[in-house]
């Protein structure tokens, strides 16, 4: 499913002393099945943008179209929009509340009217999709799981609604490296298997470079860059100025440039960086 955002503007606490412009004239378009990442400094409007996309916040002006439906139209039914656009909040494990994992995951689909065998099947599928052992966790309390497991249960809860677009707000924040890898792997798997359109908010440039087809850069409520990871991360200077950074491999290459003039710094992964260095060194020997 595609998303089209046109001239979106939103202000918090309108008319009060703490009025803040959170989004200013944001426009972009995502194709069905595309994997986009949103990066930006804290307070740049990323989270606000995410909440606009499934109708939790209503824009002051502008238009959002999801698939065929214009969700900023006041007559649109929000429950349907929220089913189609799954939103995984930051620290989603804090929203778990049921006695068992299976019941918690079933909450969303139940709300949209799924029942009986179909519900059970969807719950099992979603839990398995996140890489958890369904038989082992289904009857356990979500509160006794580990941090990484809890987060996966929370993501399963959103997946169970069978969304066609998945938005994840810093899904790996605060996880240990192995849980971090698991969650990334899970996102990649979902994208590949379900062909969902994915929008990932992240502060980890390495993850963004690895996963995304497209990078959107937000700064002070404005969309300032929109391109492939290679395009965006070739512009180190402006990214630094916005308080952002480069993927580790690109940054390494940037620093190497002084010692190895003429090396191609546009490398996003460690493997590519290694290859480029080898190529450069071989070239120099000749």
């Amino acid at each position: 499913m595609s998303i089209t955002v046109e001239n979106l503007t939103y202000t918090y606490s309108k008319g009060l002393p703490n009025e803040t412009r959170a989004l200013e004239n944001v426009s972009f378009q995502l194709e069905p099945g595309e994997f986009a990442a949103v990066i930006g400094h804290t307070g740049s409007g990323k989270s606000t943008l995410m909440q606009q996309l499934n109708g939790l916040l209503r824009p002051d002006s502008g238009k959002i179209t999801v698939g065929e439906v214009c969700i900023t139209d006041p007559s649109t039914k929000m429950t349907e929009v929220r089913r189609k656009v799954g939103l995984v909040f930051q620290y989603p494990e804090y929203q778990l509340f049921e006695e068992t994992v299976a019941k918690d995951v079933a909450f969303g689909p139940k709300q949209v009217g799924m029942t009986g065998e179909k519900l059970d099947r969807v719950v099992e599928e979603s839990i398995r999709l996140t890489g958890l052992d369904y038989e082992e966790v289904k009857e356990r309390s979500p509160f006794e799981l580990s941090g990484g497991q809890k987060r996966r249960v929370a993501i399963a809860g959103v997946l169970a609604m069978k969304p066609e677009i998945l938005i994840l707000d810093e899904p790996t924040a605060g996880l240990d490296p192995s849980a971090h890898r698991d969650v990334l792997e899970l996102i990649r798997r979902i994208h590949r298997k379900e062909r969902m359109t994915i929008l990932l908010v992240s502060h980890n440039m390495g993850d963004v470079a690895e996963l995304a087809d497209r990078v959107l850069v937000m700064n002070r409520g404005k969309l300032v860059m929109n391109g492939t990871p290679a395009e965006v991360f070739s512009r180190g200077e402006p990214l630094w100025e916005m308080g952002l950074g480069l993927p580790p491999a690109t940054e390494f290459m940037e620093r190497l440039k002084d010692r190895m003039p003429g090396i191609d710094t546009a490398q996003l992964s460690i493997e590519d960086a290694a290859k480029e260095i080898c190529r450069y060194l071989k070239g120099r020997k000749k």
């Binding site: 009060l16 939790l56 089913r83 929203q95 509340f97 909450f107 709300q111 959103v158 609604m161």
Partner: protein
């Protein structure tokens, strides 16, 4: 929305009221509450409103900001109003089946609603103009004489300030959880009363768990900074009464006199 609740919030501003000693303001608020219950006429309320208006003016807190806090308690005010409206015997003004509105009931309910509104606005002025830290310090000093009777004044003050401090945090948390559950298809706006209460469970449980988490983190952070209760604890900024507080005290006393005197005046 839920963020509109201003109860217990501080509004940073440079004003005489903000600079007053917290003890003066606490005692003043206490006096104000007593006065509200001493007043027995609408004219008396007029006096109180006038005084409150002047106070708000001096404090520079925007009126709109104060009234936003009322929105959250509109339901309680309305309930008080309606209960009083139908509960009094007297001259019948309007009658329909089992519902009767009397002149006395109308008078009474307006009176009570006004009292409640003034109570909320007046007391919220205390927290709006006093930093939670100052409030605690003031309260602790005021309660100190009762230590002799086994009252743990430091602990009480600390508990109160923690409660105040975490109101906005918990509201924010509630807002976040509500949104997260809405994103999962939860609906808080429709259904009958029982249904709606049931719909609250997905908010209340995470909130409850969350507050335990916050409490635990806070306790740990306090211990890490060697907190060991009030015994032998000194403070960086000792609070002292100044001339301002003397003036405020005199004004408060005069106003109390006026309110008491108004009880015997033949006012509407």
């Amino acid at each position: 929305m839920i963020r509109d609740i201003t109860l217990g919030q501080y509004y940073p501003e440079q004003s005489v009221i903000h600079r007053l000693d917290a003890r003066t303001k606490i005692l003043g608020t206490l006096l104000y509450i007593i006065e509200l219950f001493l007043v027995n006429s609408f004219a008396g309320f007029g006096l109180v409103i006038l005084a409150l208006g002047v106070l708000i003016g001096i404090s520079k807190v925007p009126v709109r900001f104060i009234f936003r806090g009322l929105k959250a308690v509109v339901f309680i005010i309305l309930l008080t109003f309606l209960l009083n409206l139908f509960m009094f015997d007297g001259t019948v003004l309007w009658h329909w089946k089992f519902l009767t509105i009397t002149y006395e009931g109308l008078y009474r309910s307006c009176f009570m609603a006004l009292r409640l509104i003034l109570l909320i606005i007046g007391t919220s002025m205390l927290t709006l103009t006093t930093k939670p830290m100052e409030l605690t310090d003031g309260l602790e000093k005021l309660l100190k004489p009762f230590n002799r009777f086994g009252l743990p004044s430091h602990e009480i003050a600390l508990m109160m300030s923690i409660a105040l401090r975490f109101i906005p945090t918990l509201l924010e948390e509630t807002d976040k959880i509500m949104k997260a559950q809405q994103a999962r298809g939860a609906d808080f706006e429709s259904g009958n009363l029982i249904q709606r209460v049931k719909n609250m469970i997905p908010i209340l449980i995470p909130l409850f768990v969350g507050s335990f988490r916050i409490a635990q983190d806070l306790a740990l952070a306090m211990e890490a900074r060697c907190y060991h209760g009030g015994v032998g604890r000194t403070r960086m900024k000792e609070i002292v009464f100044s001339r301002r507080d003397g003036v405020a005290g005199v004004l408060l006393a005069v106003f109390l006199g006026i309110v008491i005197a108004s009880r015997w005046m033949p006012l509407p």
